[in-house]
Amino acid sequence: MVSLVRIYDNCHCDSVEFNRNLIKDQTLKPFYMHNEHNDQHFQKRIDEGEHIEPRDYMPEGYRKNLIRQISQHAHSEVIGMQPEGNWITRAPSLRAKQILLAKIQDEGGHGLYLYSAAETLGISREEMIEQLHTGKAKYSNIFNYPALTWADIGAIGWLVDGAAIVNQVSLQRTSFGPYSRAMIRICKEESFHQRQGYEIMTKMMSGTKEQKAMAQDAMNRWWWPSLMMFGPHDFDSPHSGDAVKWRIKRESNDTLRQKFIDKTVQQAELIGLKMPDKDLKFNEATGHYDHGPINWEEFQRVIKGNGPCNKQRMEHHVKFHNEGAWVREAAEAYKRKKANKTELVIV
């Protein structure tokens, strides 16, 4: 039996480059050969509902697809800290301040879990951050919208996290082990987020005239972008095939979007919010809500970089990443100094 260390080695010496080449160069990999037989066996495991773990055989497409999806999910969590972070210093009560801070902290933590999961696939966090900065990796479009009022904090928690929950509950059954486990952990934490948002909206809708107007205004601005979070309509998503085949993706965009609409409309009506969709109507025959057309032109425009906050979000992330470089370098330097004194520190 050979004891093998995990294949993504983050030891920061020159061997990092060597190790990464080891991973990428298939012919040197002692672990497995890519061939049809192995692909078929892999698919059989998927079809039988087995989890794929980091050291298991996987087709290169599976690995790449997952790296892309998980890292973009992680980036979304981290970028998502910004619109909500915008209102921390203006939170109107000590309780609200603590709750909002704890929520944003969770988002950071979720990003962390997801970066961890992605790293099991052979990509480093440095690489993922670089991909984010160069635009090679994307993040969820919803965070390119601004948090304009305190009611936006309510709307974001209720609608945006609400939509994320629908997606994440589905992803708990994704085939890749670390991603599935991260999603289970995230789902446990996410329900407080949605309640936090809904509580804010509820309080405002039973408050002053100004508060009600503020809440309705936030609803009007966040509803449609929340629907867009589920991605294009099924008939417009040609690339889902592999994701579905490999059980990375468990349910279709429209299915998830419908779930979100069905549960949210009732919540909105309960507290007196008007749905900003004149075509929204409960369909007795299907048992679901029919809704008006989504503005996909806006979706495309924002996702391509021309939304209200795209530039700002990226500049913020780049700025603080760069400003933090000296701190990270100092931590590394200190570590090396200690290692040279041969302590109980492993280099």
Partner: protein, 252 residues
Amino acid sequence: MKTNENLFTYCLRLADDSLILGHRLSEMCSKAPVIEEDLALTNIALDHIGRAQAILKYAGEIEGKGRTEDDIAYRREEREYQNHLITEQQNGDFAHVIARQLYVSLFESLLYTELEKSADKTIAAIASKTLKEIKYHLIHASDWTIRLGDGTEESHLRMQKALDDLWMYTGELFEMDDIDLAIAKDGIGVDLTPMKIQWEQRLEDILAEATLKMPSALYMQTGSRSGMHTENLGHILSEMQYLQRTYPDAKW
């Protein structure tokens, strides 16, 4: 001054430090050098805000005018806040954040160790809970001080500058006015005089390990006891109080 008024003011002093420092730390959200540190700083912020809430609630009860912790936190004017000046200083770079945490956490670890023996049961109980948090805050701050002090040349210079910049706000931590003296005499508060030497000694040890020099400037800023703050506080309050001021009748 009646004893209750003294106690009320003393509570404000304890609470305001946490209120303002917690606020400053919360500004660091999404700005830390690594995502793990974002979580760490947020935890410390949450500890402080929670502490402020608990003490302000008690202060409201003592005052007996029906003010809630939010009323006291959000509806006072600049001159009524009693936080030490060091807590309202701008975050600056990470070294400044850590230097401020080091100075304050060291002070608080000594202060709250004594407050745990307070004749006031509520304050003693809060102190007991707080000590657990402060232990962690101090380890976090001193570990980072050492890493940055003994890291790269750049981190060493930045850390030294941060310590030097904030040094003039540390003297105030050990000041006692008549109210502090009266409260200490009642067995509720703490005599801060012997604390300064302990604080300096512990600080020296940490800085030595960090290869940093103990600042030695003699001039110390002062004023928070009489509500004389730096220009920073006004801006902090503008943001903090904005919603409560703009919608005075609204409940949040």
